[in-house]
Symmetry: C2
Subunit: 415 residues, 2 copies
Amino acid sequence: MSAVPDHAAIEARDAADPLRHMRDRFVLPQGVIYLDGNSLGAAPKSAFAELDKAAREEWADGLIRSWNRAGWFELAEQLGDSVGRLIGAAAGETVVCDTTSVNIYKALHAALWLRPERSVIVAEGGSFPTDIYMAEGVAATRPGVTIRLEGVDAPAIEDLIDEQVAVVLVNHVNYKSGELCDMAALTRKAHEAGAVIIWDLCHSAGALPVDLDGANADFAVGCTYKYLNGGPGAPAFIYAAKRHHEHIRQPLTGWWGHAKPFAFEQGYQAGSGIRRFLCGTQPILSLRALKGALDVWDDVDMTLLRQKSIALTDLFIELVEARCSEYGVTLVGPREGARRGSQVSFAHQNAYEIMQALIDRGVIGDFRAPNVMRFGFTPLYVGYRDVWDAVAILHDILKTGSWKQERFAVRAAVT
Amino acid sequence: MSAVPDHAAIEARDAADPLRHMRDRFVLPQGVIYLDGNSLGAAPKSAFAELDKAAREEWADGLIRSWNRAGWFELAEQLGDSVGRLIGAAAGETVVCDTTSVNIYKALHAALWLRPERSVIVAEGGSFPTDIYMAEGVAATRPGVTIRLEGVDAPAIEDLIDEQVAVVLVNHVNYKSGELCDMAALTRKAHEAGAVIIWDLCHSAGALPVDLDGANADFAVGCTYKYLNGGPGAPAFIYAAKRHHEHIRQPLTGWWGHAKPFAFEQGYQAGSGIRRFLCGTQPILSLRALKGALDVWDDVDMTLLRQKSIALTDLFIELVEARCSEYGVTLVGPREGARRGSQVSFAHQNAYEIMQALIDRGVIGDFRAPNVMRFGFTPLYVGYRDVWDAVAILHDILKTGSWKQERFAVRAAVT
């Protein structure tokens, strides 16, 4: 193992970082090292410009006319294509709408209708829970549909995939451990068994190169407020491979997905392509902030992004282990960069209090029950010096035991 | 019939209008008479203040901390109560989330689970179509569920309600004709047959006093971007009477509706009360604009609002009929103010071209296929002089035949 880099080496890395200039595209508060972009991305300046224009010009001045003149009707598909370019989707395969949970619901139904002779949904026990909850919701209205959970019904997800399985719902990057799943391999495994696969990209879209078309994926969903920096609760996205478009059927058949929404016909007739996943009128102001945020990506090389992501997370692990191991901090999730998303988690029995102390000192990560400190590294605005400084503060908190102060022990609803 | 009021009488009405000052709370473009607040409400100044604060302070500076510090988690319920005060709901009976279409879906499933021995959904053939489309979506996954349509299966909705009917889905105000349905009477009729009723309040919330609790309604849904002025595509609302809260079951069981969303449990456990209708993370920027818009209502007397609404729409009908009848313009919908929402529709065989000519002259209403010109009168910012001037322009367009110009004949996707 090489020697831990010193301060001068860190400065040199920042100076040589080809993505360094991207930081200027964001508003970052003074005195904060933000390692929680995997929960809520920082605000791109371009998001404000879009938001102001949409609210003050298009809404206030254009009023109803802006649905046509300002292109509000096309936003869901336009932004879908912008997201699509970052996840390996061809134009017309992705649409931005609703929430990740609602989109999981649509994709699960669509998958079950593609495999009418099958009735099993496979999901991960360690998934972000909404995936499992939505599967429960789908099963509740479709007689005979059952759920198999990895970690409950079998240790490995591969062992659950057989000829009874209609659909496999799986996370590309685990929300808690940061572990990256092999998309091409698991997609192949699902297809070999005749099943359809849905990829949840919440923790990989914008964090690393994703190649849905290349992996021959069927469906995908994800959120836009983490690494895509679309703003709090920004609408989610849903993807379907082009080969499925003619066969997409899902029960949220609202007027926005109709073939002729303004003919006001009495019966539902599905629109073409990915529009079949649209349902109701979307929140334009939030969509426009997202539009500004997605514009940032026009100038990003995803290969450089991935290189920097691995370098940042490798450095964080290296520094924490070198300086903080003696205080009972242990790595959760993969040590090998290639098997990791853009986040790192460490366990400690007092993870909650330590995270509170970190936040108090301006290092913002988050806590995940029962004992995990989770740190996200958005390559667009996190630098090597941030990693260095964050570990120095963590080390100080652990060494001095300042996290033992009573004020850090009150558990809030969320951190 | 009394003489048509003259210009001086109109000026006097505006001067005496107790809601006249409310107009200053909105941004209204110069040279526009806006009679389309029933499609997209005008922008309240307070919406911008909230939007700026949410984006520039809470998101950019507060980052993830704002979920707790800025109360983002409570917004859906807080805004629900703000809407609830305008629709006769007690605190805790309404929540703001998702879209009207998605909320119809949830309410229909909840109603069907309340009446498991029944299988018929009754809806209106002349409904805004998304209500029917969502009923189709529900029926598609629940074996045995069928739909009866008023106007198709029987002329009157009352004739469709019998002991097989689980749920009646009905609009309080018809989107096209403006006809107001008697909520108390139809609710009673549904209950007498043992059915549950869902009220779609899209065209009545904020347009007139609504009394869901007083009418003993079961569920209601509606949008917030029309008379509530929440901004383009602002999230919708859903209401459930308190007596149903313990029994609410719906399939969009996302993590926001979980009893303990941050325990990240593997199995879904529904939260309490109206929170059972929550599903995924909501678009905070759009919600905050809505918050600003709803603040306006603290100073509004709904009785005065209704009086002014009827006065405006009565005046519009009176003036149009006095000046424009000879050009083939005929009233659609009720003549009696008490049976009307806050909108008036007139039919003409060239309704599309005439509406285009009106918009060109700054009078913004909208067209609904095949031959309807629809005009909305939001009492908060439309005055009597606006009505007078709009009719003068309509009269001029009809008299001169200026609508016959070729440029008005190109049909856009929407007007």
